[in-house]
Each structure stands twice: as structure tokens, then as C-alpha cells.
């Protein structure tokens, strides 16, 4: 047996708050159903594009005390709920664990941007005296991580990552490194964003990034389809509990999957457009596979970034075809969930772990006519039950950030 260069990291807990549902099971079920969640959003009424995938029936006061609800922006509320679910799922108790050896790494693209927008309008309308003193603690993008540390009694390294739409994947990679170096024993790691705001929607629309299919919202998020025209803005959080596999086995925890490698790169090409050559994505992917000591032909499945923008999908699919050939079955769960921004990489890492534990690949929703030129096996229409050992989750962000995580069935 080849000794791996790094100790494998066990994913022992998963928490999800997504447009597909509040909770891990609800999200998994909806994602596997392939039924999209996009709808016209009342908060965006009057904008050229008013489509969004919103966390359904989210009433924070049902889950959290009033003071906590008041002190946390929506993105931190998502992170907190997902983190508590993940920790409970892992069978760990923050009251009794060694907090000094517990870390938190949470990615977010925009932090509490809704708070910032709201308070900015108060400043303009009512004056500086009526700006809430909570504005900064609610807005700052590190505050989800900071609050989780308080809530979870985590006194080890507490870090925020920001690589736009790759933030969640970057967070999990950083978390794995904390475990590899022995800086801590448990990491609560993931991503959270709540960017369904008029300013964000208008700004993404001005970039030409959003689907304009307002007459048929359910069909708007259509990764890899020939008729795709952009992504649908979504919100939520995904949080994992990570431990070194040996530690998890010692306490008889059953991992969903193992995180065995990660890689990152930069396109260093353009502020928002991917490098069409795919060189950056390829480098992240190959680095991650090398880190995991996995050959490209061993990859059974890829949970792709697959946003549904014309340029992302063709660029990414070409890289996957070149690196993996026809072997890996590819899906984009964004067809159901929309694009969760900085949470996407974490939610999709969680879904990849669930895919391995269930040996079931969720379908890419709305894929009716494959984009010509895409030569990979994309799972469409129905979830596919198959034997899976190695899987990859890719995440790409504005700014040219590329991240890849390699997971192995436990």
C-alpha cells in the first residue's frame, strides 16, 4: 500500500442551509430530484432581472434567539444554522471539546452586504445618528467565522477566506491544511453568502452574468445546456466538520467521505472572464490530483462549478474532457440550487461527500440540449446510481480564482 503524503481528512459532519432546503437531508433530497428552485423574487421587483433562488421558509426567529437574530446578518444566520447542524451531525459537543484545538474557517464573497445596503440608505435618508452601531459587526465578511467561534467555543485559528465564488472551497482547503500541520484537531469549515439584494442583482446584471429568463424562472439555471444565458443568484451556507481520519476512527465516527487533496491556481488573466484556454482550471485540478496522489483516470465523478454562464461552462467542460476524458460523470447542482456565491464551493463539497456516501450522482437540472463541443458525460434528468470511489469538486471565482477538492469514498 502506498503511504499517502498527507493524512486523509475525514468529513464527519455536514450542515446545509440552501435554496433546496433547510438542513442536510432536505437539501440532498431536492438536489437529487432535479427540480429547480429559481423563482421571481419580491425583493428584486422592478429590476431588469428579478430571479433568485432563496432559502425556502427561512424564519431565523424559529431557530435562534431574538438577540442573535438581531446581531447577525442573514449570511451569518445561515452559517450559524449550518454549523450547528454539522457539529451535531458529527456527534461532537462544543461544551466538552477542547476549544483550543478547534478552528473555524468560513468563506464568504460579500459578507453582510444586505446590512450595508440597508444602513447606507438610512444614512442617506435619516442621517448619521440613525446608522445602526451593529452595521460593522453585521457587515464585515469575517464575522460569520467570528460569531461561530463564540457560539462553538472554538479558540483555535479562526479565519475568513474570500476568493469570490470559490471562497467556500478555498476555506475547506485552508481547513485541511490546518489539520495537516497539526495546528488543530477539529475544523468547522464552509461558506456562507446572502447576496439576493437589489444592488447585487443590478450589479451582476450589468456585468451580463445573470440569466434573463424571467418569463420562465424554473428553466433559468441550465448548466451545460446550449440555451443557457447566465446564472441565477442564490443564497445559503454549507458547513463541514473536518478531522484527521485517524482521530475520527479513534472516536468511532463514520465519515461521509475523505478529503484527500486540494489544489488552487489563478488565471491571472481578467477581472471576471475565465481564461478560455482553461490553463488555470487545469492547473488547479492537476495540483489537487497530485496532492491526493490520484491519477486523472481514477476520478469517477466531478461536481462542476457549472454556473450556466456561456463562457464558464464551455471552458470548464473542455478542461474536464482534456484532463479526465469520458470517464468521470459530471454534474452541476447549480441547476437546482442556483449560484450560492461564496457558499457554493462549500455546499458543493458537501454534496460531493453525500454523492460518495450515497453512491448516487444528482442530475444537472434543465439540461435538455447539450452545448455542442462539450465532450464529457454529464448526468442529466435523473440521479444516477453508480459505483464511485474518487470525486472532485471544482470552484471558480471572479478574480481568476480556481480551486479543486478531491474526495474519496470512506
Amino acid at each position: 500500500m502506498i503511504t499517502p503524503a498527507h493524512p486523509p481528512i475525514a468529513i464527519t459532519g455536514i450542515g446545509l442551509v440552501t435554496p433546496a432546503g433547510i438542513g442536510r437531508e432536505a437539501t440532498w433530497e431536492r438536489v437529487c430530484s432535479g427540480i429547480p428552485t429559481a423563482a421571481r423574487d419580491p425583493a428584486l421587483t422592478g429590476l431588469p432581472v428579478d430571479l433568485a433562488c432563496r432559502v425556502p421558509d427561512f424564519e431565523p426567529a424559529r431557530h435562534l434567539p431574538g438577540v442573535t437574530v438581531r446581531h447577525l446578518d442573514r449570511y451569518s444566520q445561515f452559517a450559524l444554522l449550518a454549523a450547528r447542524e454539522a457539529v451535531a451531525d458529527a456527534g461532537l459537543d462544543p461544551a466538552t471539546w477542547d476549544g483550543d484545538r478547534t478552528a473555524v474557517v468560513i468563506g464568504s464573497a460579500a459578507g453582510g452586504v444586505a446590512t450595508l445596503e440597508h444602513q447606507h440608505s438610512r444614512l442617506l435618508e435619516l442621517g448619521p445618528a440613525l446608522v445602526s452601531p451593529l452595521t460593522m459587526p453585521m457587515f464585515l465578511p469575517n464575522m460569520a467565522a467570528g460569531y461561530l467561534a463564540i457560539d462553538l467555543n472554538a479558540h483555535g485559528p479562526v479565519v475568513h477566506t474570500s476568493t469570490a465564488c470559490a471562497s467556500g472551497a478555498t476555506a475547506i482547503a485552508a481547513a485541511a491544511d490546518l489539520l495537516r500541520t497539526g495546528a488543530c484537531d477539529v475544523v468547522v469549515s464552509g461558506g456562507a453568502d446572502a447576496m439576493i439584494t437589489p444592488l447585487c442583482a443590478a450589479a451582476f446584471h450589468r456585468l451580463g452574468a445573470l440569466s434573463r429568463r424571467t418569463d420562465d424562472p424554473a428553466s433559468a439555471s441550465r448548466p451545460f445546456d446550449a440555451d443557457r444565458d447566465g446564472f441565477v443568484l442564490a443564497e445559503g451556507a454549507g458547513v463541514l466538520v473536518l478531522e484527521r481520519e485517524a482521530d475520527a476512527r479513534r472516536r468511532a465516527a463514520a465519515p461521509y467521505a475523505l478529503l484527500v487533496g486540494h489544489g488552487a491556481s489563478s488565471d491571472a488573466h481578467h477581472l471576471v472572464r475565465p481564461d478560455r484556454s482553461g490553463a488555470g482550471i487545469t492547473r488547479a485540478l492537476l495540483t489537487a490530483l497530485a496532492d491526493a496522489d490520484v491519477r486523472s483516470e481514477e476520478v469517477d465523478h466531478v461536481n462542476a462549478h457549472g454556473t450556466g454562464t456561456p463562457l464558464n461552462d464551455i471552458t470548464e467542460a473542455r478542461v474536464l474532457a482534456r484532463v479526465l476524458g469520458q470517464r468521470g460523470a459530471v454534474t452541476s447542482t447549480k441547476g437546482v440550487t442556483g449560484h450560492l456565491m461564496g457558499a457554493a464551493g462549500a455546499v458543493e463539497a458537501a454534496l460531493t461527500a453525500l454523492t460518495l456516501s450515497h453512491q448516487l450522482i444528482p442530475p444537472t437540472a434543465n439540461l435538455h440540449r447539450l452545448q455542442p463541443g462539450i465532450a464529457v458525460d454529464i448526468v442529466a434528468r435523473h440521479a444516477r446510481s453508480t459505483r464511485l470511489r474518487f470525486a472532485v469538486s471544482t470552484s471558480l471565482g471572479f478574480g481568476g480564482h480556481n480551486a479543486a477538492l478531491v474526495l474519496r469514498a470512506a
Binding site: G66, V67, R70, A129, V131, S132, P133, L134, P137
Partner: protein, 79 residues
Amino acid sequence: MSDIRDHLVALLGDTFEVDPATIRPDATLSELGLDSLGVAELLVVLQERWGVPLDEGLGGDDLTVESLTAVVTELRADT
């Protein structure tokens, strides 16, 4: 004055989740569990509701239910 006091008491009980039994006239905001951030939050709500300028030079968490009510009442009378 009683409207202002009633509003303050309701705010402390409902928004700040202070046990209503402890909200006595001479209780300081600090005794009621408000830290400096909580006091700053409370002052913003009172300013907005009563249209008076309040700042933290007022005495912060040493303010009592009664003294804060009196300050708002006086400022209202001045406007």
C-alpha cells in the same frame, strides 16, 4: 412621559429580551444586561421613534430607565 417610559420598557422587554420583572425605574441599563453596543442600539431606536438627538455622552450603561426616560422627555419638550 409615560408614553416614552412605556416604549422604553417594551423595547427592553421585547427587543432586548430583558426579564420584565427586573425593569425597575432605578435599574441601570448595565444591570439590565445591556453592554455598550446594546446601549448604542437602544439609543438609535429611541432617537428614531421620538425624533430627538441622543448620543453616548448621556452616561451610557449608567443610565437608568427613569433617567433615560427623563432625558428623552426633556429633549422632546425642547423640540
